[in-house]
Amino acid sequence: MVFLAIIKSIISGEAENTMALTKQALAQGFSAESVLEKGLIAGMDRVAEKFREQRVMVPEVLMASRAMHAGLSLVEPLLKDSDKKIAAKIVMGTVAGDLHDIGLSLVKMLVISTGAEIINLGVDVTPKKFASVVRKEKPHILMMSALLTTTMTVMKEVIDELELMGIRKNLVIIVGGAPVDSGYAKTIGADYYFEDAFEVRVFLEENLAKIISRKSR
C-alpha cells in the first residue's frame, strides 16, 4: 500500500524516497488531496504523536518535516486551482512566540483552492503586526493558530488589539492549533474553531460567498 510506504518514509525522514513514493501514488491515480491527507499528513501526525512530550524541535522531527516537504513539493502545484477566482482576502499566521509552520502551510495549501487571495504572515507574528496588516489589507477573514499552551493566550491579545483599533467588526476570525478548542475560541471572542485544514476548507467552500456578501453590504 503506497500510503503506508509514504508514512513510513516520512517517519524515517527519507526525503528522496518520500518524493519517489508520492510520485508513484500520483501516477497510480490517487488524487493530490488523498495523497496529502492519507500519506503526507498522516505521516507527520505519526511523528507528532511520537514526539508529543518533546517541547522543541528534535533532529528526527526536522528530518521528518523535510521529508514531508519533499512530498509536498509535488502535491502543491496540483492543488492550486488557478481558474477559480473569488474576491476574498484572507490573512493568516501563527501568533508571537510560535515557530511551528507545518500546520500553517497546510492550511494555506488547501485554502488556496477556494480562489481567495491569501496573505500569509508566517510564524511568530505579534498582535501589533496582525492588527496593522488587517487595517491595511481589510481582509474578510483572519486565521491564526497557536501550537503551544504558552502561546495560545496571545490570540486573545490579537483580538483585543483589533477591538482597540476598532477593526474587529466585519472580520471573521478563525482560530486553530493543538491546544485550542471551540470553548476557548468562544472565550477569547473568535468566531470559529476548526480541528484541521480540511475542516477549514469545507467551511470556506460553503460559506465564503456568504461572508463576502455580508461584508460588502
Binding site: 528522496e16 523535510r66 512566540g97 491546544p179 471551540s182 472565550t187
Partner: protein, 424 residues
Amino acid sequence: MRKTFEANLLDPNYLEEILGSFHNATGLHIEAINNEGATFSVLGELERSDFCRYIRCQPEGEKKCQDSYKRASLEAAKWEEPYFFRCHAGLVIWAVPITIQGVSRGSIICGQVLMWEPDHFFFQELKKLNVGIKNFEELKSKACKLEVVSPARSQAAADMLFVVVNHIVKRNINSLAEIDATRLQQQQIRREIEERKRKNLPDISDYDTYLKKERKFLRYIRLGDRTRANQTLQSLLTDLYTKTVGDLETVKVRILELATLTSRAAVEGGANAERIMMHLKEFNKEIEGIERVEKFFYKIQHIVETFLEGIFTLADKKHLAIVKNARDFIMEHYALPLTVADVAEHLFVSTSHLSRLFREELDCTINDYLTRVRVEQAVEMMKKPEFSVAQVSKAVGFQNQSYFSKVFRKYIGVTPLIYKNSLY
C-alpha cells in the same frame, strides 16, 4: 561590581578552553553568539566551512546569518534547552542557551552540517532558499563538501554541550528541576485539552460548571480519594486556564481560594488542623510574586498533595493497602446495608484488626467513614430535583429516614429537607 560578578559566573577563557576541547573531540563547528545573533567567539579551529563563508559574503549575507542565529537563540532561551533548526541557507544547526541567573546571555551555535546526503531534493531546497545567489553551481559544490551528521549524533552533541554550558555557568540543579515542573504542567494542560477534544466533551466556559467541579474536588478531598482528587484538580486547572485565558491576577485569586477550600476539606477529612493551617500559611507566602500561571498550578498541586498526605499519615505502608481497599469497598457498596463485618470479611481480616487500622490511619471508625461517604453521596444526589429526601436516604444506604435526617444535620448543619429546598 556587576561586571566582576558576571565574570565570576562565566569565565570567558574557561568557556573557550572547554568548548575548544569539545570542538576538537567532536570535529563539530561551534561559535558563541550574543542575543543579537552576533558572533563573539569562534572556538577551536577558527574557520567556518566553505559553504558558510560563501553565504556570508553574499549581499546582506552576514545580516541574514545573524538573524537566523538570533531567532534560534531566542527559542533556545525560551525553552531553556537545545534548539534544532535549519538556517536561512538550509543547513542544520542547533543553539544551546547560555542562561545566567535566569537571564539569557546568548547561545552556543553548533552544527552547520547536513543530516542527510546531499540529494536531488536538497538541491531543490537549496535553490529555493538561496534565490539571490550568483553562482549556484559553486554553492552546490561547496554544499557537497559539508559534513553529514546523523540525527542521533547531533542530538548527543547537543545534549553534551548543554551539560557543559550549564556546568560552566554553574547552573544549579534546582532551577532546572523547576523548569521541568513548569514544563510538565504545560504538557498536562495540553494533554487534558486534547483528551477533551478527542472525547468531544462539551466546552466549559462558565463559572457554574467550574464551581460544580470544585465542589466535586472538595468532596474527593474530604473522602481522601487521592486518584479522583488529582484527576479533578487537573481538569479544574485546565478549565481555569482556558476560562481566564491565562490572566495572572484572576488565576492567583482562584488558586488562593482553592488552597483555602482544600485546607478546610482536608481538616474535615481527618487531617490535623494545626499542621494544615501551617502548610496553608507557608503556601500563601510562597505564591507571592509568582509570575507564571504554570507555577501557580504546580504549587497548588503540590499543596493539595501535602494536604492529602495529612489525611493519611503514611506511618505504616503495609497496612495502608488494607485501609485503602476497605475504603474502595465502602465507596462501591455504601448503598447496601453494610456492616463492619461485611467489610472485614471482604478483605479477609478480623473486624477488630480493621477497626484498629482505620483508627490509626484515618482517625475515625469504619462506621464514621461509611456515614461520611453516605452523606457526601446524599448531598450530590440532592442536587437532582427528581429525587425526594426519602428516595435519597434509601439510595445512599440508610434504612431509616429520620436517622438519615439526624446524621445529615450533624454533618451539614441543616436537615436534608431544608438543604434541598435551599437549592431551588
